[in-house]
Subunit: 292 residues, 2 copies
């Protein structure tokens, strides 16, 4: 009988010895997951060959990351985000049929009870920022408009803050709204041009980014959740392709297909129709939902 | 230019996109380590294909593991222990020349200021448990005795508790001692037979072990740190091969070469010499230190 068959640890048989203990796992999925985690963890340790001090540094990093998390902050989600794990899980769970709009991360700033508004409403409640008109259509993969599709939109203001980050400064529900399409699948509303913003950078994740020579910024975007009966719910963003951080989103949320066009419009008649005082931004963007 | 060259995330190029951001890392070692961690993490996620709920369960597990850690408890070290990572780091950092005694994990119960005692001292200060006489020699790899070698020993009592876990119940420094060899490299002292004990099982790690059908016990052992000028310090255990958990140490500390022999001795003359009241356990075990 060899050492590892007796349950004794050897460097060469480390994975087999550890996963061999899970024979009586209560849950087959957990057992399978732990087999992969153990194997990949041991592969990583064998490739890195950490010193005892490096191992302990990693232990402290993980501990502090857990301890930084509160009801209002989740530093491990942030870590998952900046390592591309959140986007990978999103990708795996949202493989779309050809032609459907792609998903991206939800982010921490969605709230469930934003008000349903009539088409055309201005979701900017404090008149700060550059006016923006957004419109488009919601289709199925055969190009037919979807009626009664619900579009839930939220965005940061022109200083890069969400309303929930600036309670008392921004009005409640500023730059949030829920819209419902008619038979033509069209949506349209007014807002202000969003700005890039940093993810929280004062914790362990911020320090890691800094040590890696990475900045904490997300390029300007609007968040959407699109729902319609008979279709898969789509959680996504649209991005400003001219944002300085468009090629280096700290959380890897950008995909080619999520780049929208932000056009500057200087047309007094259209501005007047939209009740804007002067030139404004126009974004036209269509979405395609997959049947669910 | 392809998507990932623009910094845009794709499932296929996820590792390249994420590690590509570390070009300006401030530290080459950190950069190399994060390359491995990111790659193995993405490999694991791609193989597991976690649902969003499973991903969130993992986030909460890690968060709670960090939050359980205090000055007195380190749940992430415990996690590292039960996944065999601590033993793997130990193995990588303590590859010994042929013939030298093998190392194992330090564990959380060593204290730096245990008293130096004369050879033969009884480290059991409360007369509880079965008497044990331990002796042996400390050699170099050529078989020459090492003089002035310092042997630091600590162990749990016959109920499976260390003194520091039972302050006020066990005397301070119970079952701890530091001994120094003479020219013959011999050591000898008296103690009590140790017992198996559980690692702390009331936290996230305990729940994980339970879900995996694993017990939290470590087989009975004595801890040693052996130091001598000109030699590598050896942190190790010796184990009772008849312990019920000898083939399933919760932290994988057991190695074939660390099994000692615990002999029951019923010899009134020898017992009297050792100031034992009756039959006792005898453990003879030699150590070999590698030149450092
Ligand atoms: Cu032996
Ligand atoms: Fe956002
Ligand atoms: Fe121990």
């Amino acid at each position: 009988m060899e050492a590892h068959e007796k349950g004794f640890f050897t460097e060469a048989n480390s994975v087999e010895v550890v996963t061999g203990r899970n024979k009586n796992a209560k849950d087959a999925r957990l057992k399978a997951v732990m087999e992969v985690i153990t194997r990949k963890l041991h592969e990583a340790v064998k490739e890195i060959e950490p010193t005892q001090d490096e191992w302990f540094e990693a232990i402290l990093f993980l501990t502090r990351t857990g301890q930084l998390s509160t009801e209002w902050r989740q530093e491990f989600i942030l870590l998952s985000d900046v390592l591309g794990v959140s986007m990978l899980v999103d990708a795996i769970n949202n493989r779309k049929p050809s032609g459907a709009s792609e998903s991206t991360v939800l982010g921490p700033f969605h709230i469930a009870d934003a008000p349903e508004l009539p088409m055309g409403a201005n979701i900017c409640l404090d008149q700060k920022g550059e006016d923006m008109f957004i419109h488009g259509r919601i289709f199925d993969t055969e190009g037919k408009p979807i009626a009664d599709a619900v579009l839930d939109v939220w965005q940061a203001n022109d200083e890069g803050f969400y309303d929930v980050q600036q309670k008392g400064i921004q009005p409640d529900f500023n730059l949030r709204g829920v819209f419902r399409t008619g038979a033509d699948g069209r949506y349209w509303f007014r807002a202000v041009k969003p700005k890039f913003y940093p993810i929280p950078a004062d914790g362990t994740v911020g320090k890691l980014l800094d040590a890696l020579g990475r900045h904490p910024y997300r390029p300007a975007h609007l968040h959407y959740i699109l729902k319609a009966d008979g279709f898969e719910t789509l959680t996504t963003h649209i991005f400003d392709p001219d944002d300085p951080y468009i090629n280096s989103d700290a959380v890897f949320g950008v995909k080619e297909s999520l780049l929208a066009e932000f056009k500057r419009v200087d047309d007094p008649t259209r501005a007047k129709d939209l009740e804007f005082a002067g030139p404004f931004w126009e974004v036209e963007h269509d979405f395609v939902l997959a049947r669910g």
